[in-house]
Structures are given as structure tokens and as C-alpha cells.
């Protein structure tokens, strides 16, 4: 007639806790060995636990929905009354082992609680959750300084707990009261991905990896990226030392002549044509993009977007497509006697490439799902950076985004791509003080700049379009409309 308590075991190699999902028995119920008594959920799976005892349930020690440490007593079962059980349902099992079970199983409940939360075994094999205690020593030298120190409390536990908590917290670091620490979320978002050899090379070269445009398939900075960045920097910096002195190189003159050709020539022509034929009106808006950052982070973590580079530019692209549908005149062409409003979106992305500025576009971007759009953006960027953009990919654009934020610039006045009437400049996203409900808190802020051809797009329309784009960056969930 002993009272047995069952302690939560580690059912999966190194688990420290589990949630009690549902009890399959109630106090007073008769259980046999291996009858299912409870369903628990661990970090790995849902598991049904079989009873190690036969007898009558005397108490459930943990409520459903509670998460408890491995080693916590969860149920008490009283031995069956010594009526010789029939061989059915594990009767003999109950009788034979019960009296001689190892001590840990017959421990009366109130022995351990004090040691509770401090010391869940990291890799527990069973019910034994020993309190780590210093054993008292014999007084050897009478006054040996062995003062029976209280069990040294490891100061660790709070730290690991903080990390996931902050990460899971809805609106990130900015949400609640100001946090003195830099916030692990920020660190996560700011972290540049790169393989160790690339990191080392960057450190050796004194290059901040965050400055290097990444083209890796998971958004990581590749060796190639680092090398081309280095080559470009070298070209500029090496020149810097001798720039003012070295005249001989340029045929003894003081002026270096660079032939205008290729992309440079085309860019110049297009910009002049645009700037002097289309009357530009430019407007700017500051946007709290914290939710966009959150959304991007969630996408990165999701299975569907595994291996796909996801950046805030993706959300902006989606926002521009969405906003253009609500303000169709921005997606148009001026032809002096007609305005051609396009019912499709060939979304141009201005890209700095080895050959100069290129504006390839994503054809029929309005038909792409978020994932397809992400893939298209990746594809476009990789092709452009490799200098392999084909002319066809640059023709027929209807609206353009220029991602100047990638270069760390807040905003600027973009010049419209000829043949279009609107362009959006996406500034860098960084943490800035922001007033929310009368309190200054750090938020992820960006500036959107837009230039519009006033012949087609009037001030109020351009303002509405930009406000629509901004609203998506502030709340990407609006895309679900």
C-alpha cells in the first residue's frame, strides 16, 4: 500500500521540459502497468506516457496546459489493495516489482521540490533529478576553510531564456518599454551571412561584410562578392593616393579622358531625355518599416522560402504592385497625344552592375505570388550583377524601383526611366528614434522617395500612391486584402 509518484522523464535525448497536454486518467481511476495515463508535448513530439505502476490514481500533480521540468512529479498512484490480481492487464507486474523498485520511484512526493527549477538534468535519463549539493566533509584540520557554502546558484538560466523570448515577441525590440540591451533581434537582422573563409578574408582585408552586396543563394556574401567588392575598392582606393600626382599616365595633361560609350552613354542619354522632357515632381515619406522587417524575418524562417533570398525589397515590390492597381495612372506612358495606362506591370529594378546602371524588369509582375516574385528578384539581381542582362530584359518596363538603400543612402531624387511616369526610391532601413503613442522608441525607419511625370501624375495622385506603398511597409498584412 505504498504511494508511488511518477516523475516526468526525458523522453527524447536531452529534453528539459514538457507540456502536459491531456490526462487520460483521473483520480480514483484504476491503472495497470503500461496503461496510457497522459499525453505530453515535448520540443520534439507529442508523446503518450504509459503508467509504470499498477494501482489507483490518487492525485494528478500537474494541471493540463502546464509546462514542467523533467524530473517533476506529475502523478501519484497508490498500490492496488493486495487482492491477488488476475493475470489480465498486468496484474502480476504490479505485484512483483512494486516493493523492490529502486528508491527514486518510491520517493514520497515532498522530498525534492526545493531543488526544483534550478537543476533540470540537461540530458536526463530518468526520474532522478539530483540536487547538486556539496557533500559535507569531515573536519580534517579542524579549521579548514570549508564553510559549507550554500549550493552555488548558477546565474545562467535567465540568459538563454531571454533570447527566444525577444525573438518571438511580436513587434520586436521596439514593442514594449525601452530595453537597455541592443536587442538580440537587431543582431539577428543585422547579421551578415557568410562562410567562415569569407569572413576571415573580409577581416584580413579590413572589409565590413555588411557593405558587400550579397548574391549567395541564401543571401550570403560569397567569395566572388568579396573579391569583386575588393577589386572595385582597390581600384578606387589605389587611385586615391596617387590621384593628384600621377599625371604622366594621362599623357602629361591634367585631365583624364574617358571615352563615353556603352552603358554610360545610354544612361546619360536616357537621363537627359527624361529629366528635360518629363517635368519631375518628387515627394518623400518616412515610414516605420518594423513590421516589414518582422515579416521578412518570418519569411526567411519559413520552409516555403528556404533557400530563397528574402529582403525588404521584396515587400516593397509587392507594395508597389498593389498600390499601382489602386492608382493606375502611375503605371503609364506619355505620348503627347495619348496616355497609355498599362494593365500589366513590368516592374523595373535599377541595379548597379559591372557594366554600369541597368534597369532590367520583371515581366507581368502582377501575376507573381510572393514566392515567385522573390525568385524573380533574385534571378534578376544575379543576372544583372554577373553582367549578363539581355536587352530584352530591359525593354518594356512600366514602373521602376531603385534600391538606393542597399548603398546605405537615406533617400534621393530619382529620375524616371524613359517611357515611364513613376519611379520609387527605397532608402536604407535603420533604427531611428520614432514617436509612438507619445513615447520615443527605436523603430526600423526608412524613407521612400518618388518621382513622377507631372504631365500624367498630379500631386494628389502621386501622394496617394506613395501613401499606399508606405501603408504596406507599415503593415504588410494589408497585402491580404
Amino acid at each position: 500500500m505504498a504511494l508511488n509518484t511518477f516523475h516526468l522523464p526525458d523522453v527524447g535525448e536531452g529534453l528539459t521540459e514538457a507540456e502536459i497536454v491531456s490526462w487520460k486518467v483521473q483520480p480514483g481511476a484504476v491503472v495497470a502497468v503500461n496503461d496510457t495515463i497522459v499525453e505530453i508535448e515535448t520540443a520534439k513530439s507529442l508523446v503518450e506516457l504509459p503508467s509504470p505502476f499498477a494501482g489507483v490514481v490518487s492525485a494528478l500533480l500537474v494541471a493540463e496546459g502546464d509546462t514542467v521540468e523533467v524530473g517533476t512529479a506529475i502523478i501519484a498512484v497508490e498500490d492496488a489493495v493486495p487482492a491477488p490480481g488476475e493475470p489480465t492487464s498486468g496484474g502480476p507486474a504490479a505485484q512483483a516489482p512494486a516493493p523492490e523498485m529502486p528508491g527514486e520511484l518510491t520517493t514520497p512526493p515532498p522530498v525534492e521540490p526545493a531543488a526544483g527549477p534550478e537543476n533540470g538534468p540537461l540530458v536526463g535519463t530518468g526520474p532522478k533529478a539530483d540536487a547538486v549539493r556539496r557533500r559535507p566533509r569531515r573536519a580534517a584540520g579542524a579549521n579548514t576553510p570549508e564553510p559549507e557554502p550554500a549550493p552555488a546558484p548558477p546565474p545562467a538560466p535567465a540568459v538563454p531564456a531571454a533570447l527566444p523570448a525577444a525573438g518571438a515577441d511580436g513587434t520586436g525590440p521596439a514593442a514594449g518599454r525601452p530595453d537597455p540591451r541592443p536587442g538580440p533581434l537587431n543582431q539577428l537582422l543585422n547579421r551578415v551571412l557568410a562562410k567562415p573563409p569569407v569572413r576571415k578574408a573580409a577581416r584580413d582585408l579590413g572589409i565590413n561584410l555588411a557593405d558587400v552586396p550579397a548574391t549567395g543563394s541564401s543571401g550570403e556574401v560569397t567569395k566572388q562578392d568579396l573579391m569583386s567588392y575588393q577589386a572595385q575598392r582597390d581600384a578606387e582606393q589605389d587611385g586615391a593616393d596617387s590621384f593628384w600626382d600621377d599625371r604622366k599616365k594621362h599623357g602629361a595633361g591634367r585631365i583624364e579622358r574617358i571615352p563615353v560609350k556603352g552603358v554610360r552613354k545610354a544612361t546619360a542619354k536616357a537621363m537627359v531625355q527624361s529629366a528635360f522632357s518629363a517635368p519631375h515632381v518628387s515627394i518623400f515619406v518616412d515610414v516605420d518599416a518594423s513590421r516589414t522587417m518582422e515579416f521578412v524575418k518570418r519569411l526567411k524562417a519559413s520552409r516555403d522560402f528556404e533557400g530563397i533570398k528574402v529582403s525588404p525589397l521584396l515587400i516593397l515590390a509587392k507594395a508597389v504592385i498593389w498600390a499601382a492597381a489602386r492608382n493606375p495612372s502611375v503605371n503609364a506612358t506619355w505620348t503627347d497625344d495619348e496616355i497609355l495606362v498599362k494593365h500589366f506591370m513590368n516592374l523595373g529594378i535599377a541595379a548597379a552592375t559591372p557594366r554600369g546602371l541597368m534597369v532590367p524588369n520583371i515581366k507581368d509582375a502582377q501575376n507573381l505570388s510572393l514566392k515567385e516574385l522573390a525568385l524573380a528578384l533574385n534571378d534578376l539581381a544575379v543576372t544583372a550583377r554577373a553582367g549578363k542582362t539581355q536587352p530584352a530584359q530591359m525593354q518594356g518596363g512600366t514602373l521602376t524601383i531603385t534600391n538606393i538603400g542597399a548603398l546605405g543612402i537615406d533617400t534621393g531624387t530619382p529620375i524616371i526611366n524613359p517611357g515611364e511616369v513613376a519611379i520609387v526610391a527605397f532608402g536604407t532601413i535603420k533604427q531611428k528614434p520614432w514617436v509612438l503613442d507619445g513615447e520615443v522608441i527605436p523603430r526600423w525607419i526608412t524613407t521612400l522617395g518618388g518621382s513622377f511625370d507631372h504631365r500624367v501624375v498630379d500631386g494628389d495622385l502621386s501622394a496617394r500612391f506613395m501613401a499606399d506603398v508606405a501603408s504596406i511597409l507599415e503593415e504588410p498584412a494589408l497585402l491580404l486584402d
Binding site: P9, E13, V33, K44, P87, G90, P97, G124, R138, L479
Partner: protein, 393 residues
Amino acid sequence: MSGTRLPAAEFESEEIALASAPPGPDGGPDMVQFLDPDGRLNDHPEFGGFSSGTGAERLKALYRDMYLIRRFDQEATALQRQGQLALWVPLTGQEAAQIGSGRALQAQDYVFPTYREHGVALTRGVRLSEMLRLFRGITNGGWDPRENNFHLYTLVLAAQALHAVGYAMGLQRDQAADPTLAPAASVAYFGDGASSEGDVHEAMVFAASFNAPVVFFCQNNHWAISVPSSVQTRVPLAQRAEGYGFPGIRVDGNDVVAVEAVTNWALEHARSGKGPVLIEAFTYRMSAHTTADDPTKYRLSREEEDWHPRDPLARLEKHLRTTGKAGDAFFDELTKEAKAMAVELRRDVQAMQPPGLEERFNTVYAEPHPLVQEELQAWRDYEAGFIGEEETS
């Protein structure tokens, strides 16, 4: 505008279905089978002569082995769930592959298992409770491999294939030195997962080069933890043997009669100096990889249901009952026997105590060593310095 295009659950199920499209329970026309899933026993033109018989007693014995080892598996799983074992590796679904091959062995043969060969251990006469000592975390081994010619469990898989080949080459040399020895072979057990590892390749190359008397017994249970066998290989695993230059046979791993016959043939082939054989036992891991695994996260219940009718125990039971080779009395008796075994197992496991630190000193060297003795004494003195009971753990 495009709410339906945002990431949604439909993506996921599609991808899972794609990734794990199972090859299906049909092992193809070349698979050797005696006992079909409906319990009908057919002869096989090639391997029929190698079966140890399909009489009532023989089949009942095989069924008993399979039943007991499944009950053992269930009890061990329960013990793990109750915190008595740190981990358990279930074998449910693979009873026929293990019992059939194990019962084909002779005493002088030597087995190199993975960590899932509980059924083979039973046929070798290893005490089942002994096997649980490893999983309770109180020993590095658990049994004396020389006692039953059943090697310790290999935890880092694929290594055992090399051990088996080395042992087989040793057998060759023993045989050359003393021709009166009974011809023997070694058996390397491994799975579809390990088949992708380099060790298995090296083992097969060496086995072929030296014509070693070794049988590679691959239980293709279709899942290497969460990776389906369709990812491990484009051709039936048995076909790989051809590339090494020895025979490969795919056998229905859920048909204990066929497995036994094919293994008999393979062992005889190896023992008689004709070289290695690869057997692919086409079976299915009906349970989790280990108790720390949750298969619902990577495979569909539909697949599990596809395999259910091919359960190795169910088909033999069907056969025994429909042919009148065994009736209720046999099955009831067996249930009782299994229950008693489970009770005894539970008692044994709960009585197992972790070893004291003192034992560690004894196992540093095979023989007493002065330095270790000195350290042992120092440790004893240290322990004696504490107040209270002097226990050694």
C-alpha cells in the same frame, strides 16, 4: 489582392508529398517471396531447396520468435517512456528480416549488428534484458560478444560493415591454418541509410577483392531517420552488388520464410569459399527511428497504411490459422509467455544499478596497473573524507 498567393499550408503538403513519394510496398518482380501478404505459401524454384522447412513446428517457432521480440520492443518502448531507459530503438516491422536471417546462422558464424538488431540478438541467445543495459546508459556494451558470436551494437553506423569484412578475412586465415575448423561466415547488418556511407563501399570492395566469407545483410526499411530510401538510391540496393562483382538478392523482408531461405543460401555460398553476397531485405520501419523521433513530421500516414497489410506477423499468423498448423491454443499460450517475459524484463531493468566509479579504474587496462592502483587508492582516500555513507557513486 493576392491573398491566396501568400505562403499557405497547401505549399507544404505538396512539398512533403513530392519529397517522400514512396517507392511503394511492391518490391518488384525480382523480389524473392515465399509467403505472400495473404498468407499463401508458394514454392520458389531457385531458393526453395534452401528453406529449413515449412512444417508446422518450424513455422510456429519462427512466429514465436517474432512475437516475443515485438512484445519485447513494446515493453522497452514503454520503459523508455517511463524514464527507465534513456533511449530505445524500435524494430517493429522488421521482425521477419531479423528472425529469418538470424535463424539461418550457425553457431560458428559471427554477427556485426547495428543498434536495431534485437531480433537477431534473440536468435543468438543474448539475454534480452542484458541488451537494455546499454539503453539505460549504465554500460558501454552490455554483453560479451564472444559468448554468442554477436558483436556489440555499433552506434556510428556503417563501421560494422568494415569490421565484418575484417573478421571474415580472419576466418579465412584461421581456416587456412586449421582446415578442420567448421566453415564460418560473418554477417554485416546495416540499413538503406548506411548503404550511402563510404564505409559500406570500402567494405564491399575489400570483401570482393579478398573473396571474404561475409554476407552483407541490408534491411531496406525505407527510412534513414527522415530521409526516404528513394533519396539513397536510384536502383534497387541489391543491384549494387553487381558493380562489386558478387551476387545481390532482393528478398521480401517481411516474409520470414523467404528471408531464412535466402540467408541460408548466402551463408553457404560464403562459407564454401565462393565469396560475399549482398541481401537486400525489402521491409518497412513501422515505428519511429528512435523514441526521440517523430515520424509524423516527415512521412504521411497513408504510406504507413500501405505497409500495414504486409505486416510480417500478420501474414504468418494468417497462414498458420488457415492451414490449421496452429490454432487459438498456440496463440493464447504465446500471449501468456510474452506477458511473463515482459514482467520479468521490467523487473530486471528496474533492478539495474549504475556502475560505481570504482569499476572505471578496473577497466582502464586489462590487467592491474600500478599507476591506476595508486589513483584508485587516492580516490578512495578522498571519498573517505566525506561525512555520511560511503557509497561509490
